[in-house]
């Protein structure tokens, strides 16, 4: 797993208080990891902070799973 994926996973575990084993790539923040809409806003902020990227609102809305987050950040970092 990439460094980015590791870090994303860690942030999700920390912010949502879920067990690491549940944070699979396909896990949905809301449907599988117990987040509500405010939690997802905070998660996106945490990603922005941790990776020094900007995630505009329309992009943030499309980040609903762990994999979505990893893909988006990897793309930003590669650009």
């Amino acid at each position: 797993m990439s460094e980015i994926a590791d870090k994303v996973k860690k942030i999700v575990v920390e912010h949502l208080g879920v067990d690491e084993s549940k944070v699979t790539p396909d896990a949905s923040f809301i449907d599988d990891l117990g987040a509500d809409s405010l939690d997802t806003v905070e998660l996106v902020m945490a990603f922005e902070e941790a990776f020094s990227v900007e995630i505009p609102e329309d992009a943030a809305e499309k980040i609903t799973t762990v994999k979505d987050a990893i893909d988006y950040i990897e793309k930003q970092k590669a650009a």
């Binding site: 806003v41 905070e42 902020m45 922005e48």
Partner: protein, 427 residues
């Protein structure tokens, strides 16, 4: 027991559950035994570096293992939810959990849930949260403001969280009347039950203002004690000639109020009945009480009237008594109201042991007063070495006293000139 006054021919309201966390620790019984033993909850401020402020002492809720009376937050609020709430909400949830569990009330039906409400207030609310958020904005990081900032700071969110935790779907309300909040919350919630809006109300106050803004703000208002930074246990000294301001305390007091027949039908234990409630406004000054504390006088008078009682019926007054110049004005008002009955009266200020919990003060003091009824013990006024004003009223200096107590009156007064008194009686 025959119902009296306000409650005659109306729905009667009793207290069936109690919970508290204060500088004296976690839990009603621990608080009471420490209070009666003459212990106090003061120390130098540990929450932040207060060395550049004139007031450096406070009553903070002790951290530590739950079983030894300290606060271990994760035992009460899941770690992932803690950051969504300011500390005053944490403390409110701790006390509400004890109160609700103590009451044994677990509504099973949707109807019962809809008949159970929450009315928990605060004087100030999420001051530390607001402070931290302000710094974030000031640093040019407004976009980084937590989505939980607003719900963390809002005063009515203790009521919100308690309702969510227990599924209480009745009236969800919150009182904000500065240091009178706790009494107003109990009185107003009792009236909601009397008027039929609910059968059960979880009511009280929560506060956590031992933070830079809270201490500095009250320092600037010249309200806090500043001469006892090296002897914190001596700083809160209601009615004593050397008093020089109040000591900030933090915590929460919560009661479960219940319609009498409802409580009886489910075999609930009943601690006391809310038999009187009185309110008034000073219309005088934003922080100073009116001359002769005439607003306090009228609040007490209104409470007696609503209870259908006279001063001869009251054996104990839990005073607002914050350890400020206003103490003697309250004393005067009580003397004037009670007349000859003052000679038989016991009155103490438990703020001498807990400090001033602002919006939670009236609620923890109502609970202490209920325990005074239960055990026939008047809790002491600590540090009352040399009263600045003599009085025929026994102010229970230093040591708790056994007294026959079946009916009490508890006072709380707030900035803005708001006064509230509640009368409770054993059942």
């Amino acid at each position: 027991m025959q119902s009296t006054g306000l409650t005659s021919g109306q729905r009667r309201v009793v207290v069936t559950g109690m919970g508290m966390v204060s500088p004296l620790g976690l839990g009603v019984e621990r608080n009471w035994s420490r209070l009666v033993a003459g212990e106090n909850g003061f120390g130098r401020i540990s929450a932040f570096d207060a060395s550049d402020l004139p007031a450096q002492v406070a009553g903070e809720v002790p951290a530590g293992p739950t079983e030894s009376g300290g606060l271990t937050l994760s035992d009460w609020v899941p770690v992932k939810d803690q950051k969504k709430m300011d500390r005053f909400i944490h403390l409110g949830l701790v006390a509400a959990t004890e109160a609700v569990e103590d009451s044994g009330w677990k509504p099973e039906s949707e109807e019962d849930r809809c008949r159970t409400g929450v009315m928990i207030g605060a004087g100030i609310g999420g001051l530390q949260t607001i402070y931290e958020a302000s710094v974030t904005v000031k640093e040019g990081r407004a976009r980084r403001l937590s989505p939980f900032f607003i719900p963390s700071a809002l005063i009515n969110l203790v009521s919100g969280h308690v309702s969510i935790k227990y599924g209480f779907k009745g009236p969800n309300h919150s009182v904000v009347t500065a240091c009178a909040t706790g009494v107003h919350a109990i009185g107003d919630a009792a009236r909601m039950i009397m008027l039929g809006d609910a059968d059960v109300m979880v009511a009280g106050g929560a506060e956590a203002a031992v933070c830079p803004l809270g201490i500095a703000g009250f320092c600037s208002a010249k309200a806090l004690s500043t001469h006892f930074n090296d002897t914190p246990e001596k700083a809160s000294r209601p009615w004593d000639r050397d008093r020089d301001g109040f000591v900030m305390g933090e915590g929460s007091g919560i009661v479960v109020l219940e319609e009498y027949e409802h409580a009886k039908a489910r075999g609930a234990k009943i601690y006391a009945e809310v038999i009187g409630y009185g309110m008034s406004g000073d219309a005088h000054h934003i922080t100073a009480p009116a001359p002769g504390h005439e607003g306090a006088y009228r609040a007490m008078q209104n409470a007696l009237r609503s209870a259908g009682l006279t001063t001869a019926d009251i054996q104990y007054v839990n005073a607002h008594g914050t350890s400020t110049m206003a103490d003697d004005l309250e004393l005067e008002a009580v003397e004037r109201l009670f007349g000859d009955d003052a000679r038989k009266l016991a009155m103490s200020s438990t703020k001498s042991a807990t400090g001033h919990l602002l919006g939670a003060a009236g609620a923890i003091e109502a609970i202490y007063s209920i325990l005074a009824i239960r055990d026939n013990v008047a809790p002491p006024t600590l540090n009352l070495d040399n009263p600045s004003r003599e009085s025929v009223i026994d102010r229970i200096a230093h040591t708790a006293q056994e007294r026959k107590i079946d009916t009490i009156l508890s006072n709380s007064f707030g900035f803005g000139g708001t006064n509230a008194s509640v009368i409770l009686r054993g059942v």
